[in-house]
Amino acid sequence: MGLLLKKELDERNIKARISPTPREASKSCGISLIVNETDLPLIEQIIVENNIQILKVVSLARKEWKYRST
């Protein structure tokens, strides 16, 4: 479903990055899309129009990435 939404967003030139799910969103390892908040109303419309199942939308603060080993 995440890949389906990514494809739809790519076709409309809406920026999205595939990411492991941040902990703020869920404890279940899996795929998430990171998008700009300003694109959210349009993305939510695309989700409804294409009947794409998502778990939830979570707002993340922009942060300075620092190296962290896995």
């Binding site: 995440g2 595939i18 492991p20 799910t21 899996g30 998430s32 190296y67 896995t70």
Partner: protein, 424 residues
């Protein structure tokens, strides 16, 4: 977003401990990969695989087992995957690249063991990696003393077959490896219950060769300036190829190569034209070890090639596809695999010749020869590597490191000084 927790529980995984890794991955991947600009669209597939790193491929492997198939976990580029796939099995690379698993390995291994071995043993013993719990058999080898002894510990956990890799490259050594492949075929046939025929082995040889050709295309694109893909992204492609379905892996790498070739035609890249071009040579970087690439590229230089088992050694040299008998195919496999230049061989001057050749092909400005901490073989060989590179006027530095964050700033300072010297 799939929830794999039930699948992991059924595998007997330690979910609570595993959750620590799940917690770190998004931030580590975000900070190393997602901050990059202008990444090729073809990387979406690989990002997806990382996002579902312990879910999507393990689920496929378990489905294969449900349908009666067998899974073989492997640790080295000398294991001929062709044999496993020819018998209808799945071969998947198991090397551990995470600091998270190291402490688990340290419970049973000496402290002066390399992090790759510690992580691999820890991932199995701590039950925190599905890839280590799924295989019906591990296929190991004796490419270093650390591994040899580690397998004796692992053998108490899972059925294990060891391929005896010759340590020299005389004709009789190639013949010895041919005999090892024959033994391996017998083992794989017994485990899978399937007979390997000239037809099935021929198909498997073509399939794995196609993956090698696709990876070579991606690497060929890295010879261009400006370079159309970062070293970090190219490394991720190779790392995922170790355990992905080979036919799909070839398709995805070819899709990516199409895009990179288009970028070259358009003159677009991910680093400026004048960016310093670096080769990293030495020991493998198993997923998710992205440390050195991240240091180099965050300092504005591009890693354009890896002379390592997670680089050119993985895909250079094809198996001759012309043989039509099992005997001929086994000989062709032995000849191809014995062309791989690992520091476990003596002498290993062909590896040093490879580094000189790659420096020319990829137009590198400098070489970082690196080895995982306590890797005696590559560490010792670095002396001769440096000697020959100096003769060729190729700037080189040597780095020994592990998976931890502890030496990150120190390494950054050293790499920065090396890059400054190259820029003058």
């Amino acid at each position: 977003m799939a929830d794999y927790r039930e699948m992991w529980a059924n595998l007997g995984m330690d979910l609570e401990h595993h959750d620590v890794l799940c917690e770190v991955l998004p931030e580590a991947f975000g900070g190393i990969y997602l901050i990059q600009q202008d990444r090729p669209k073809g990387m979406d597939f690989y990002d997806f695989v990382v996002a579902e790193i312990h879910g999507v491929r393990p689920a496929e492997m378990m489905q294969h087992q449900k349908e009666g198939g067998k899974v073989f976990g492997t640790f080295c580029v000398y294991v001929p995957d062709e044999v496993v796939f020819a018998a209808g099995g799945i071969a998947a690379g198991l090397c551990g690249g995470s600091q998270f698993w190291v402490s688990g390995g340290e419970k049973v291994l000496p402290a002066n063991t390399c992090p790759l071995i510690k992580a691999s043993v820890g991932a199995r013993l701590d039950k925190t990696c599905p890839f280590f719990l799924i295989p019906d058999m591990y296929v190991a080898e004796n490419t270093c003393d650390g591994k040899k002894k580690a397998w004796e510990i692992m053998a108490g956990e899972v059925p294990l077959h060891i391929i005896d890799i010759p340590q020299m490259k005389r004709d009789r050594d190639i013949a010895a490896f041919e005999a090892e492949i024959k033994d391996f075929i017998a083992v794989v046939e017994k485990v899978t219950g399937n007979k390997i025929t000239a037809e099935s082995l021929g198909e498997a040889i073509k399939m794995i060769n196609n993956k090698r050709r696709a990876l070579q295309r991606v690497y060929n694109a890295r010879k261009a300036s400006p370079v159309p893909i970062s070293g970090k992204d190219a490394l991720l492609v190779t790392q995922i190829n170790f355990y992905d379905d080979p036919a799909r892996a070839a398709q995805m790498a070819n899709n990516l190569a199409d895009e990179l070739e288009q970028r070259i035609n358009n003159g677009t890249g991910v680093f400026p034209n004048n960016a310093v071009r670096i080769m990293i040579s030495g020991t493998p970087m198993a997923i998710p070890n992205w440390k050195l690439h991240h240091i180099v590229e965050s300092l504005g230089a591009a890693v354009v090639v890896e002379e390592s088992c997670t680089g050119t050694r993985y895909f250079e040299n094809l198996v001759d596809e012309s043989a039509t008998t099992l005997e001929g195919q086994i000989r062709a496999l032995a000849e191809r695999y014995m062309k791989t230049n690992c520091a476990c061989f003596t002498p290993n001057s062909a590896r040093i010749d490879d580094i000189v050749r790659l420096a020319d092909e990829y137009k590198v400005d400098g070489i970082i020869d690196t080895n995982l901490q306590f890797c005696n073989l590559y560490s010792t060989e670095s002396y001769l590597v440096k000697q020959v590179m100096t003769e060729h006027n190729l700037p080189i530095m040597h780095i020994e490191t592990d998976y931890s964050e502890q030496d990150f700033e120190q390494l950054r300072t050293r790499v920065e000084a090396f890059l400054e010297m190259l820029r003058k």
